[in-house]
């Protein structure tokens, strides 16, 4: 007897059932690091809750034959029972009516699934945008001198505008269209084909436009992060051109390699499967390393390092950092591409890592300087959030705590010791936090990833989840992670250098010393951030 499931999959009776998430892995080619699509098993829906619990407790596989026999009558449930009945009955007109009911029921289940996932995904997209505006704008804005506040905020805001248009026109297509291992194609130029039905390559339960707009928010924040390195000394026009090109020529290819169909580093099917749940390599390593390259190319601010440039408003930075923390739930938990347990896992990990890292940096600073600072605490939290980004959907909560703790201490070391020793003017520590934190996080992901949380590499022939990270026994994953890190560093360094050179020759990157002294607000925008006399 054939039992019809939702996607017309036949569920053979008498075989061991797999009722867990990876059952439909073959249905989604390149979800890779994202949530595997849960099977819409209609008969699961019909199983009474008490029996469902029994099934889950037995490790998602039903071994007990007697239990199967017991279950069989239940599973030969409504639709199938009705089918059997209608087949037996002489009235042939009953069969299509019931099949129509089944189809309607299937549609309802599908709609319900989409409703939950889409609601969370739209919320997540909004949260990630909040991270840029005003999260990052405030965080960076408070750290610069008063005369540069508007200029700094404008850099983030400009990304919100520019990258959106570029993404819609060609960015999304280059990142997520079909192409080769390194770059997508032009099939979605001007968002052609990107409608309100799901794209099963990426997320089968949300409209593709949701996916596109969610990814857009990532594309926005990544170049915005780089602005922290060249704060207070780059021309607005040059910044706009440089970061627009960077978004197309560095970000989109990197996103394609890690998340796109056929990408080199894609966890499912890529040549070098690398685990990056929410963008440790794609967002943080690329932006952080590009930041380092840019600040070295551009040179130090006038007066650095003998003159101290303290933040003009730690209050603004504090507010910005907290907005980043909250927004990051959309960044990481939203990368589950659904509202199920994996999103919960990522949410919890994100929060734990942020808290642990704030502590880590604070303790390190307390020992190093004798006093904990507010700037250290919020920087620590951001460092933890950066480090957990690639790991958020793959690790246990206490691994997340460990990752956060280590990231807080490590990034503080990068900022306190390495930056002052090497002397580069990474004004707002974009490299120290994002570049270094992202690199550390990507490597620790290889260490702590476990298939118990996310069977990202599918199942083997016996139905056991393939080990993902080192604690599962798969030490080779550290090598893949390192390869991904290496590729991200290389593409960032080369791409950024080329673009900087180009834009410098055509427009000129840096403001003049007089403009730098007057401040970006006045020189670039003819405005003042604060007017205390009015």
């Amino acid at each position: 007897m054939k039992i019809m499931g939702t996607r017309n999959q036949t569920i053979p009776e008498g075989r061991i059932w797999r009722l867990d998430r990876q059952a439909d892995a073959n249905m989604c080619a390149s979800t890779g690091n994202r949530a595997p699509i849960p099977p819409e098993n209609l008969t699961l829906f019909l199983i009474p809750a008490c029996l469902r619990r029994r099934i889950h407790r037995s490790g998602n596989t039903m071994h007990c034959r007697s239990f199967k026999l017991f279950l069989l009558p239940v599973l030969l449930g409504f639709p199938t029972f009705s089918l059997a009945q209608s087949a037996a009955s002489a009235a042939a007109s009953q069969a299509p009516a019931t099949q129509a009911q089944v189809a309607a029921l299937q549609q309802s289940v599908s709609d319900a699934r989409m409703a939950g996932d889409n609601a969370w995904m739209l919320m997540s997209a909004a949260l990630v945008l909040l991270m840029t505006g005003p999260g990052l704008a405030l965080f960076y804005g408070g750290l610069v001198r008063r005369k540069n506040i508007l200029g700094t905020m404008m850099q983030s805001f400009a990304m919100m505008g520019l990258v959106t248009i570029l993404w819609a026109v060609v960015g999304y297509s280059l990142a997520f269209g079909h192409g080769n291992a390194f770059i997508g194609g032009f099939e979605h130029l001007f968002l052609r084909g990107v409608g309100l039905t799901p794209n099963t390559d990426y997320a089968a339960t949300i409209p593709e436009q949701t996916y596109m707009v969610y990814q857009l928010m990532f594309a926005i924040i990544t170049p915005a992060l780089i602005t922290g390195a060249f704060a207070e000394r780059m021309k607005f026009s040059a910044m706009a051109v440089f970061l627009s090109l960077w978004s197309l020529l560095v970000y989109s290819p990197m996103a394609h390699m890690v998340w796109g169909v056929g990408g080199l580093l894609n966890a499912s099917g890529g040549h070098i499967p690398s685990l990056d749940f929410a963008g440790g390599t794609v967002v943080h390593i690329t932006s952080g390393v590009s930041a380092l390259v840019t600040c070295i190319y551009l040179g130090k601010r006038v007066g650095y390092p003998h003159t101290n440039f303290p933040p003009h408003s730690m209050v603004l930075s504090f507010i910005g950092a907290c907005l980043l923390w909250v927004g990051w739930f959309g960044f990481n938990a939203g990368s589950a591409l659904g509202s199920g347990p994996l999103a919960t896992s990522a949410f919890v990990n994100t929060h734990f890592a942020a808290a642990a890292a704030a502590l880590g940096w604070t303790v390190a600073e307390w020992i190093h300087n004798g006093r904990p600072t507010a700037l250290g605490a919020i920087s620590g939290a951001v460092a933890g959030l950066v480090a957990i980004t690639p790991a958020s959907g793959f690790v246990q909560p206490f691994s997340a705590l460990a990752i956060g703790l280590v990231a807080g201490a490590f990034c503080s070391f990068m900022v306190f010791e390495v930056k002052s020793r090497l002397g580069y003017d990474d004004s707002l520590d974009a490299f120290g936090v994002h570049g270094a934190g992202g690199t550390l996080g990507a490597l620790l992901t290889g260490l702590f990833a476990t298939s118990a949380i996310n069977a990202a590499f599918g199942k083997d022939a016996h139905g056991n989840p393939v080990p993902t990270g080192a604690i599962d026994g798969h030490w080779g994953q550290l090598g893949s992670q390192a390869a991904g890190v290496g590729i991200a560093w290389s593409i960032s360094i080369v791409g950024t250098l080329v673009l900087l050179f180009l834009v410098d020759k055509v427009i000129g990157l840096r403001v003049s010393p007089e403009e730098e002294s007057a401040g970006l607000d006045l020189s670039q925008h003819g405005e003042e951030g604060y007017d205390f006399n009015s």
């Binding site: 101290n308 600073e365 300087n369 306190f416 002052s420 520590d429």
Partner: protein, 112 residues
């Protein structure tokens, strides 16, 4: 007529103002200033590095009084502002050439 300029700790402003009012001096100008004398600055931390901040917040009071009130004013200021520690501030006295009330063009000591 003499002008008395007093550079003070900001925390002493209220006490000095009250003392001057009690002494019978009603007109004064108060400015926010920054500076230091022998008082060293304080240290702040930024990104793990220690910096000395030399320009400390101060308050400056300017009064113009008749010669007879000079000593009363100085006593009032000193009494209210003195703590005995470095950083208490300084008082400068200078001669004033003319004083004019804008409202009715009164001149001289009656304008004060």
């Amino acid at each position: 007529m003499v002008k008395i300029e007093a550079v003070l700790q900001p925390s002493k402003l209220d006490a000095v103002k009250d003392a001057l009012l009690e002494a019978g001096i009603e007109g004064m100008t108060i400015l926010e200033a920054r500076g230091h004398g022998r008082q060293k600055g304080h240290t702040e931390f930024y990104r793990g590095r220690e910096y000395t901040v030399d320009l400390l917040p101060k308050v400056k009071i300017e009064l113009v009084v008749i010669d007879e009130m000079k000593d009363k004013a100085i006593d009032a200021i000193e009494g209210a502002a003195r703590t005995g520690r470095i950083g208490d501030g300084k008082i400068f006295v200078s001669r004033v050439e003319e004083a004019i009330r804008i409202r009715n063009d009164e001149r001289g000591e009656t304008a004060l």
